[in-house]
């Protein structure tokens, strides 16, 4: 038995959003009596953390603390339309809609504050801790809860805002495929190091080095979640997963539970080292691009290329099972 080591590379890009028929999302924001800002959406959080990042977008734009932002989402009776969570579109579309709504609400908030402070709204700024203050003379200030109360009970104003982001429709030209389906591109490069056991055919992914260009990291710990979880799925796709292990020859042998449908467990994961680059997208919320899907992609070919580097077997069919490695090694020996 020999353990053979190899290194493989892959670099990829990935589109944010996939639109052909028009791709919108909307947001509505309103202030409560005490200065809470409710962001109403119909968007879905699959676990990627949409509720948190769009709250950040709202807080940043309104200039208020995170604690004052309330996300109310995914009730079609109350939330305005969202196309859905897929195609790495959530943060980009919904983030932009929330920013637009927050800008409108902010304008009213500053106007109400200006009337209370008897100054010009253009001279006001937010301090991020909950106050609106006069630029250059921070002692002249008013808290957002007082602004909201004044709006409700004194000035008769609705501190609210509406936002929509629409990626306009683009039908492909049938002859040439000319089209404009996406909003921006994120990028990744993976270097994978593997070990191949030439007796069992088992591939172990030892280490992965990744660089990701993601526009803007809105929440660095959540970026780490996306890239690490995604890269794990890439490893899993590469060496384990299929609902039809003998595709296309046989439809039989389909796994029906997690004992048969294999994925790497905690003892089978590579050490991941990742570096983030930011090239903000001109049309992204604070420059962010969608990265939810891309992170699973580069590991797969990087692993295939590393397997070749390790043992000379070129695997052209996913997943790279022990059986396929052993068949490849047999073919090499026979040649």
């Amino acid at each position: 038995m020999t353990l053979l080591r190899g290194r493989g590379y892959a670099s990829v890009n990935y589109p944010t959003g996939m639109n052909l028929g028009g791709d919108p999302s909307q947001a509505i924001i309103h202030a409560t009596t005490m200065g809470g800002f409710v962001v109403t959406l119909s968007s879905v959080d699959l676990g990627q953390g949409l509720k948190t990042v769009v709250a950040q977008c709202a807080a940043e734009t309104l200039g208020i603390p995170m604690e004052n932002v309330i996300i109310d989402t995914a009730d079609t009776d109350t939330g305005p339309h969202c196309m859905g969570t897929f195609a790495s579109r959530g943060t980009h579309r919904v983030g932009n809609a929330v920013i637009m709504a927050a800008r409108e609400a902010r304008e009213v908030m500053l106007q109400v504050a200006a009337d209370e402070l008897e100054v010009d709204a253009g001279d006001l700024e937010t301090d991020g801790t909950g106050f609106v203050r006069l630029k250059g003379s921070p002692a002249t200030k008013i808290h957002i809860s007082d602004i909201a109360l004044a709006a409700h009970f004194k000035q008769g104003k609705s501190i609210s805002g509406r936002g929509i982001f629409l990626k306009e429709r683009s039908y492909p030209v049938p002859e040439t495929g000319e089209m404009d389906p996406d909003s921006c591109q994120a990028h990744a490069c993976t270097v994978a190091e593997v070990e191949v056991d030439d007796e069992t055919g088992i591939v172990t992914v030892l280490r992965m080095y990744n660089t990701y260009e993601i526009g803007r990291a809105l929440n660095p710990a959540m970026v780490a979640q996306q890239v690490e979880g995604g890269a794990w799925m890439g490893v899993s796709h590469a060496i384990f997963e299929s609902t039809e292990p003998y595709y296309p020859a046989s439809r039989a042998h389909g796994p029906i539970d997690f004992c048969e449908y294999l994925m790497p467990g905690p003892a089978e994961i590579p050490v991941q080292t990742s570096v983030i680059l930011e090239r903000p997208a001109s049309n992204g919320p604070f420059g962010a691009k969608g990265i939810g899907e891309m992170t699973a992609n580069a590991p797969i070919p990087a692993i295939a290329n590393a397997i070749f580097d390790a043992c000379g077997v070129r695997l052209t069919t996913m997943p790279f099972t022990p059986e396929s490695v052993l068949r490849g090694l047999d073919a090499l020996r026979a040649a």
């Binding site: 990627q48 710990a221 690490e228 794990w232 997690f258 905690p266 994961i269 991941q272």
Partner: protein, 163 residues
Amino acid sequence: MTVTIVNLKVNGVDQAFMARPGTTLLLALREQLGLTGAKRGCAQGACGSCTVLLDGAPVVSCLVPATTVDGADIATVEGLADGQQLSDVQQAFLDGFATQCGFCTPGMLMSAEALLARNPDPTADEVNEAISGNVCRCTGYAPIVSAILDAAERRRNRVEATH
């Protein structure tokens, strides 16, 4: 159909429910006792999202016949926190961003609690082993393993501090 009355302790509180033949502990907890923290990810004993502690030992509650737990002591995720005070494992999951969709989390937490109860200073391999029956599709496991190791350290520090 015979219905059995099952008396047991859940999170330290005396409880009772009526079990029809074929009901599982998981469904009894969720549907009769209103404790929906334990999740049904497969009902086949293969995902771990329904993990609870039965007399201190982690079990996949979807495979435990409800009629067999009479007199047992059950611990579920709902009982981990002491009021507002999270357990070390809960706090470490929170601080370590070890949750994404959160569906696997209750089961993971219970497996981790069981591990730390019997082994306060586990190695990473022992953590891997302890959660090997818990499937997570989102996180890639690394943050979960780190969080459990972090929780073990927090617990040890607390124990030291009180001595």
